[in-house]
């Protein structure tokens, strides 16, 4: 299997890009209304939040971690911002409070993973449930928090259009560019690749690995907050029960499908973009085809499994450096 892939000299990114192109063409020919401007804009809009989340997840996965608390940090801090703004605080104060909340969540994740050495999978699952619980147990009056008029000054991040393109896709673009520059052009980004590749070697080379692990979860949480604000602005509200949905699996799907190996140290922003486009197209196509919610979940599950399988074939775990409890 491995020989097949490597002899064809395809990496996962290329495969997924081709798959996306093929699927797009097929849908364009066979699905009525798929290529209409309205639908394409809807496709782009619907994937941009997923894409932004994927960027945060990508940073953590490159550092050989995983963050299952992203949806909770998308919903709760963003709702906090809206609640505070609605009750009369200045938008800057409200956003500052949300930012602090997100950063605190990231630090909690990072400290537990880096210092207590609890596997990221369980740490972030527990923290996510906890954060969602804090939100649901009385922080907000209703499950659904409405976008307050006080925040309309920044509502453009999810609503407006420029040259016919929705701002949310531009938000994705800006986030992608920022993450790309961080990962490829800064020392800290380089270090994240290093410790994702080989934590022990990174440590012995003199990198302070634990603060960097914390940093990657903090960045991830801040990106989740950003995604939350974009989502809330475009939907005019935030449903804090969103944590109960299977969205986090879509985020992982985007990252893994795009070709960022769960074994760490590989991939970049392009992989997230490609993964997002493919998932967006599949979901959009299924919606037009009127596939039931259950049917869609089945397809997603199959695609995720396939992606994980391809990942473990293309990026096999290094048995010598893998630890028990590694994701």
């Amino acid at each position: 299997m491995k020989n097949l892939f490597s002899s064809l000299n395809f990496d996962q990114q290329t495969i997924v890009t081709i798959l996306f192109a093929v699927l797009f063409v097929v849908f364009a020919f066979w699905l009525p209304g798929f290529t209409s401007t309205g639908n394409l804009l809807e496709l782009v809009r619907s994937v941009s939040v997923l894409g932004i989340l994927g960027l945060g997840m990508a940073i953590v996965v490159i550092g050989r971690g995983i963050d299952l608390s992203m949806i909770a940090t998308l919903a709760v801090p963003a709702s906090l911002v809206m609640t505070l703004a609605a009750s009369g605080y200045h938008p800057a104060v409200a956003i500052g409070a949300g930012l602090l909340f997100a950063i605190a969540t990231g630090i909690l994740n990072g400290v537990l993973v880096a210092y207590a050495e609890i596997p990221a999978l369980f740490t972030t699952l527990a923290v996510g449930i906890g954060v969602a619980g804090i939100g649901q147990s009385g922080m907000f009056e209703y499950d659904i928090v409405a976008w307050p008029p006080a925040l309309d000054s920044i509502a453009w991040i999810g609503r407006g259009k420029i040259f016919g393109l929705p701002y949310s896709i531009l938000a994705f673009g800006v986030a992608a560019l920022a993450v790309h520059i961080f990962l490829k052009k800064t020392r800290l980004g380089f270090f994240i690749y290093a410790l994702g590749d080989n934590l022990a070697a990174a440590r012995i080379s003199g990198i302070r690995v634990r603060p960097i692990i914390i940093l990657q979860y903090v960045i991830c949480a801040v990106i989740a907050l950003f995604a939350g604000l974009v989502l809330a602005a475009s939907a005019h509200s935030m449903d804090t029960r969103i944590f109960n949905l299977t969205w986090i699996y879509d985020v992982i799907l985007v990252v893994v499908l795009g070709g960022i190996g769960l074994s760490g140290g590989r991939g970049g922003v392009m992989n997230v973009i490609v993964g997002t486009l493919l998932i967006g197209t599949i979901v959009n196509g299924m919606t037009i085809l009127n596939v039931s919610y259950q049917g869609q979940n089945l397809v997603r599950g199959l695609v995720l499994l396939t992606a994980l399988m391809i990942d473990s074939i293309l990026n096999p775990r290094n048995e010598e450096t893998a630890k028990q409890g590694d994701i």
């Binding site: 020392r187 290093a194 590749d197 070697a201 080379s205 003199g206 140290g265 010598e320």
Partner: protein, 497 residues
């Protein structure tokens, strides 16, 4: 007498390197056969092939004259070959009796019945172990008894002991020798791998010596003495030209850079004290388990902080205690690991990126933004200076040969401009051509006035490189030699005794 087990022309390749090469070995019924050799001579690999843990690349294994293909440890047990490892494979939270019958329980498993059977069985072997005791509460010697009993219960005809006495106290050792006698009395053939030459001389009937994966000699024990064993273990022809220029002039000691006093760590470093000086190579020779690596991992902060139990480390006269490697790197210590794959290089990165990363971790050059041009320039400089050879400019490190990988790991540390460079087994798994180049690098560093430490279990290497030779045994440095007076026999003697 016919051998119960025979190996003919056995070869085991790991990649291109042969761990065992064309070895012939035979084992008689009821004999104790000691297998001796230096670290990496292939003793463990040889016995692992008998026990089905690894598969030979070529050659055949015969059990009672019929060729057999042992595919797994389970199959080996079925044939009657049992291996007792250094670390026991018992389940600590179960009782002795439960461990004995583990995997062979009856469908209705009556604890009382099991205990009685176990008791009777232990008595028949005259092993003094209570079958209802928890394995976790047993000492090392009794655990070994349980392992042996389990092998006997499975009708083992061949029992392989890998370093059985390493964890035992002197009294326990005596008891172990009695056990071996008992096994012999039951007609079991015993293979005994050890570092301790005296033990081999004492309990074995025959001795086989391996060197560099090749068979050197097999003979009756009464025909051996210490000197003959050591000579067979260390004598080398193969790499003669590489190692035959014996040191005649040692570099003088410069300023004292490192002083370790009464260091205790990780259970294997016991009251270790030593000093390292600038401008010379300090060689540390010792067998595995002598605490050499752990001592220097404490110096560099690479060892987990709670493994350090006491003692002082002075760097440039200042008492230091590094909890992680980062601050030691800032203070000019470079530890170049013995296991480059696990903690040496970054396999997904290019050669240049690996080297550049080393530079980025050191204070002065630490800046927020990266410059690709700087990476290319730093990478090119070091690739040239250490003669790293690769197929393409942007090759990933994983594609390089062992020697070139090692050079990348060395460059990654040297780019940090350290004052104290610690090489742990610098030429392990390195092709012969690159060995000379790596030795050249080590000598160059000492000539530049840096303090260099070379830890090695390869005698000719330490003898050739060192200006001062320290021998470690059982967690501390026990003797110091000047390279001019040292001989392989003297060093080996100090390391083993």
């Amino acid at each position: 007498m016919k051998p119960i087990l025979e190996m003919r022309g056995i070869t085991k390749l790991y990649g291109k390197a042969a761990a065992v090469e064309g070895v012939n070995f035979d084992l008689m019924k009821g004999e104790v056969h000691a297998v001796l050799g230096e670290n990496g001579a292939g003793k463990s690999t040889l016995t692992k092939m008998m026990a089905g843990v690894v598969q030979p690349t070529s050659g055949e294994i015969l059990v009672e004259d019929s060729v057999i293909n042992i595919k797994s440890p389970a199959e080996a047990v079925k044939i009657g070959i049992a291996m007792v490892f250094q670390e026991t494979s018992l389940v600590p939270s179960m009782t002795v009796a439960q461990n004995l019958f583990l995997g062979n329980e009856k469908f209705f498993n009556r604890i009382r019945g099991v205990n009685i059977t176990a008791q009777q069985f232990m008595q028949s072997l005259s092993f003094d172990v209570d079958p209802t005791q928890m394995v976790a509460s047993l000492g090392a010697a009794k655990k070994q008894m349980v392992e042996i009993a389990r092998a006997m219960l499975l009708d083992a005809r061949v029992v392989v002991f890998d370093e059985p006495t390493a964890t035992l106290t002197p009294e326990e050792k005596r008891h172990f020798f009695d056990l071996v006698e008992t096994l012999k009395g039951h007609g079991v053939a015993v293979i005994f791998i050890s570092h301790a030459l005296e033990e081999a001389l004492e309990i074995s009937d025959r001795i086989t010596i391996l060197r560099d994966g090749k068979h050197v000699v097999t003979d009756k024990t009464e025909n051996f003495d210490r000197d003959r064993i050591i000579q067979s273990m260390v004598g080398r022809e193969l790499t003669e030209e590489l190692y035959n220029n014996k040191k005649t002039v040692a570099r003088p000691a410069g300023e004292r850079i490192l002083s370790i006093q009464n260091l205790r760590a990780a259970g294997v470093v016991r009251n270790n004290s030593l000093s390292v000086f600038k401008g010379q190579v300090t060689g540390i020779f010792g067998l595995v388990g002598s605490g050499r690596t752990e001592t220097f991992k404490v110096v560099s902060g690479a060892i987990k902080r709670n493994y350090r139990n006491g003692g002082e480390v002075y760097l440039n006269g200042k008492s230091v205690r590094y909890l992680v490697p980062a601050p030691s790197v800032q203070d000019g210590v470079a530890y170049i690991t013995e296991d480059r794959k696990v903690e040496g290089f970054f396999e997904t990165m290019s050669i240049k990126a690996n080297i550049f990363l080393g530079m980025l971790t050191k204070g002065k050059s630490a800046r927020f933004w990266l410059k690709n041009s700087e990476m290319d320039q730093v990478g090119d400089t070091w690739v040239k200076s250490l003669q790293v050879r690769s197929v393409s400019q942007n090759a990933e490190v994983i594609e390089l040969s062992g020697g070139n990988q090692q050079k990348v790991v060395i460059a990654k540390s040297l780019v940090q401009e350290p004052d104290l460079v610690i090489f742990d087994e610098p030429t392990r798994g390195v092709d012969v051509g690159a060995i000379a180049e790596i030795h050249e690098i080590i000598n160059r560093l000492a000539d530049e006035g840096k303090a260099v430490v070379v830890i090695s279990s390869y005698l000719p290497e330490v003898m050739q490189l060192s200006d001062r030779l320290l021998v470690a045994r059982q967690g501390k440095v026990v003797e110091e030699f000047s390279p001019i007076e040292a001989t392989e026999e003297k060093l080996m003697y100090a390391a083993v005794h």
